[in-house]
């Protein structure tokens, strides 16, 4: 039983690392959006797996909230990326360089 939990946690940590790697390395706005989604889903996996092993269903509730909120977040993010695409004809964040220090 406990070993299963370790499996779930390992997958979730792997997803977290993949997501952060994706954000750090990729310069395509859509890929970065996917990377953020992967991190959120790593957390969701954690929540649902833990909710199975602790005497409390709050984790599943939070996972549902988190899925809904992440959908709203992606909608806003895609909107911003579409606006950027109309202006630059590209979704490469390295090309968005109006603001310099």
């Amino acid at each position: 039983m406990t070993n299963e939990l370790v499996d779930f946690t390992l997958v979730s940590v792997a997803l977290l690392c993949i997501g952060i790697y994706g954000l750090a390395v990729k310069r395509n706005a859509l890929r970065m959006l996917f990377a953020v989604e992967i991190v959120i889903n790593a957390a969701n996996l954690n929540l649902v797996a833990f909710a199975r092993f602790v005497p409390d269903s709050g984790g599943q509730t939070l996972a549902l909230f988190s899925i809904a909120v992440a959908a709203a977040e992606v909608a806003v993010g895609l909107g911003l990326i579409i606006v950027a695409y109309r202006m630059y004809r590209d979704v490469d964040v390295a090309k968005f360089r109006t603001l310099r220090g």
Binding site: F65, L80, L99
Partner: protein
């Protein structure tokens, strides 16, 4: 249990009802509608919310701060303190938008998003459960992504929004990951339960608890603008509409501190692990990077963005020494309130500059003391207060914060060094603030004509000058309020 007529619920109902009604009104009227009309409605809602929070405080209906109460939403002093600071900032943003948004498209959506984001900030401050905290955090963040990119024909605004969105979304993802680990370790999402549970976990699981705490700090740190999570901040503040920059710098940033006080500081005491040194190092890095980078800026909004990073460092001093000094958290709260007003006023002044002169470059500020006298006085007073010049309010909150750091020196050797770093940084910041003031008053060769100052900006300037000087001359009530709102943290042996 939470009463239906408790402060957070009523504030949420007022702002939520009006915030969701605004777009509906827009549709029913079958026209773009005048900016003033929607701004007035939003202003009315925010004023009602502030009046209600103050009324609850005055009548003594608000309970003392108690993180362990087990309520989902805590109607306590800590939440009310932050709520007042955030609502003041939202009012600043709304009033300055009276002139900034004039003639721009979609005013109803704009004010609706401001109100919804304000609900999020206020609920973060009141939340006492990780589920509520996360949902409120997202409610606060998502509208601001749209607000930052609101000038959608402007490449700078869009770029600012995309950078802000990427980092903000990562911050939310990291926070939900931290929540998931804390939940897995303790089996509850109640903050009090999590803190109690973390104190009793098996020694082999302590690294996971540390990971969770670290992710919480990272997630909140993105919004607070702590180094090394600050890369998005200058670009975002510079590119976004200045009233929205005021909301970000003075509002959402403070929500990060509210959440950090509830979770990190109190959890730190419960785990009985010393994170203070790590926070202290981040604090010194944050204020140094912010202030040094601010010197080199040519745009006043970018300079204020870096100065805002510096101030996150000062506020973090209070969190770092909280276990060692009883005056640390009151100092933190006081500086949060003061910084909200000072920085809010400064960004509103920039909104006035953008409306009247269409410029934020520092060279364009020449002779501003004659061209826009009230805005110039407002900028001067808020900059001097940011630098901590007595007798303005920023002086007192820095005094309490640095005093707490020296006080902590009895327990930890690095306490006084934090205070020294803070004082040196304040001196450094006076240099670049003084440079702006010199440009405004003592460099006026061009004799450019006097320009009309937007009335809304003048109103905010007058209010904030009164607030800054008032609390500077007579700081006792604010210090008392901060002291009563600060949670007691177990003083470490």
């Amino acid at each position: 249990m939470v009463d239906v007529f408790s402060t957070p619920i009523v504030v949420m109902m007022i702002l939520g009802a009006v915030g969701m009604a605004l777009p509906v009104i827009n549709v029913l009227r079958r026209e773009q509608g005048s900016n003033t009309f929607y701004a007035a409605i939003a202003f009315g809602a925010l004023a009602a919310a502030i009046a209600f929070v103050l009324h609850q405080l005055a009548m003594g209906y608000v309970s003392a701060t108690d993180v362990l109460s087990g309520d989902v939403i805590a109607d306590d002093m800590l939440g009310s303190f932050f709520a007042i600071a955030m609502l003041i900032v939202a009012v600043f943003t709304t009033i300055s938008s009276f002139s900034y948004m004039r003639g721009k498209k979609y005013p109803a959506v704009y004010y609706s998003l401001i109100l919804l984001s304000t609900i999020g900030m206020v609920m973060v401050a009141y939340s006492n459960d990780l589920v509520v905290l996360f949902v409120a955090w997202e409610l606060m963040s998502i509208p601001t992504y749209v607000l930052v990119g609101f000038n959608k024909r402007d490449p700078a605004s869009n770029e600012a929004a995309i950078k802000y969105f990427m980092f903000g979304a990562l911050a939310s993802a990291v926070i939900i990951y931290a929540i998931s680990i804390a939940y897995g370790l303790t089996g509850t999402t109640d903050i009090g339960g999590v803190i109690a549970g973390l104190g009793a976990i098996d020694a082999s699981l302590v690294p996971l608890a540390l990971l969770s705490g670290g992710l919480f700090i990272a997630g909140f740190g993105f919004k607070m603008g702590l180094v090394p999570f600050h890369m998005w901040l200058p670009d975002t503040y510079e590119g976004s509409p200045p009233p929205v920059a005021a909301l970000l710098a003075a509002g959402t940033k403070k929500a990060g501190f509210a959440a950090a006080i509830r979770i990190v500081v109190i959890g730190m005491a419960a785990l009985s692990i010393d994170w203070s040194l790590a926070l202290a190092i981040i604090a010194v890095m944050t204020m140094t990077v912010g202030n040094v980078a601010a010197i080199m800026q040519k745009s006043i909004s970018r300079m204020l963005a870096y100065s805002s990073i510096g101030h996150a460092g000062y506020i973090l001093i209070g969190l770092a020494v909280a276990p060692y000094s009883a005056s640390a958290l009151p100092g933190t709260l006081l500086h949060v309130l003061n910084h909200a007003v000072m920085k809010g006023a400064a960004f509103v002044a920039i909104a006035g500059l953008v409306v009247a002169l269409a410029a934020t470059h520092i060279e364009k500020l020449r002779g501003l003391g004659r061209r826009m006298p009230i805005t110039a006085i407002g900028i001067t007073v808020s900059l001097l207060a940011l630098a901590g010049v007595p007798p303005l309010n920023g002086f007192w909150s820095k005094l309490v914060l640095f005093g707490a750091a020296i006080d902590a020196g009895q327990e930890v050797f690095w306490g006084p060094w934090l205070a020294i770093a803070g004082v040196l940084n304040s001196a450094l910041s006076l240099a670049y603030y003084g440079w702006i003031i010199r440009k405004m008053y003592f460099e006026d060769e061009a004799k450019a004509p006097r320009v009309h100052e937007p009335r809304a900006v003048v109103a905010v300037m007058l209010f904030s000058i009164a607030f800054i000087v008032g609390l500077g001359v007579y700081p006792e009530p604010a210090i008392e309020f901060a002291r009563s709102a600060a949670p007691l943290v177990g003083i470490m042996p």
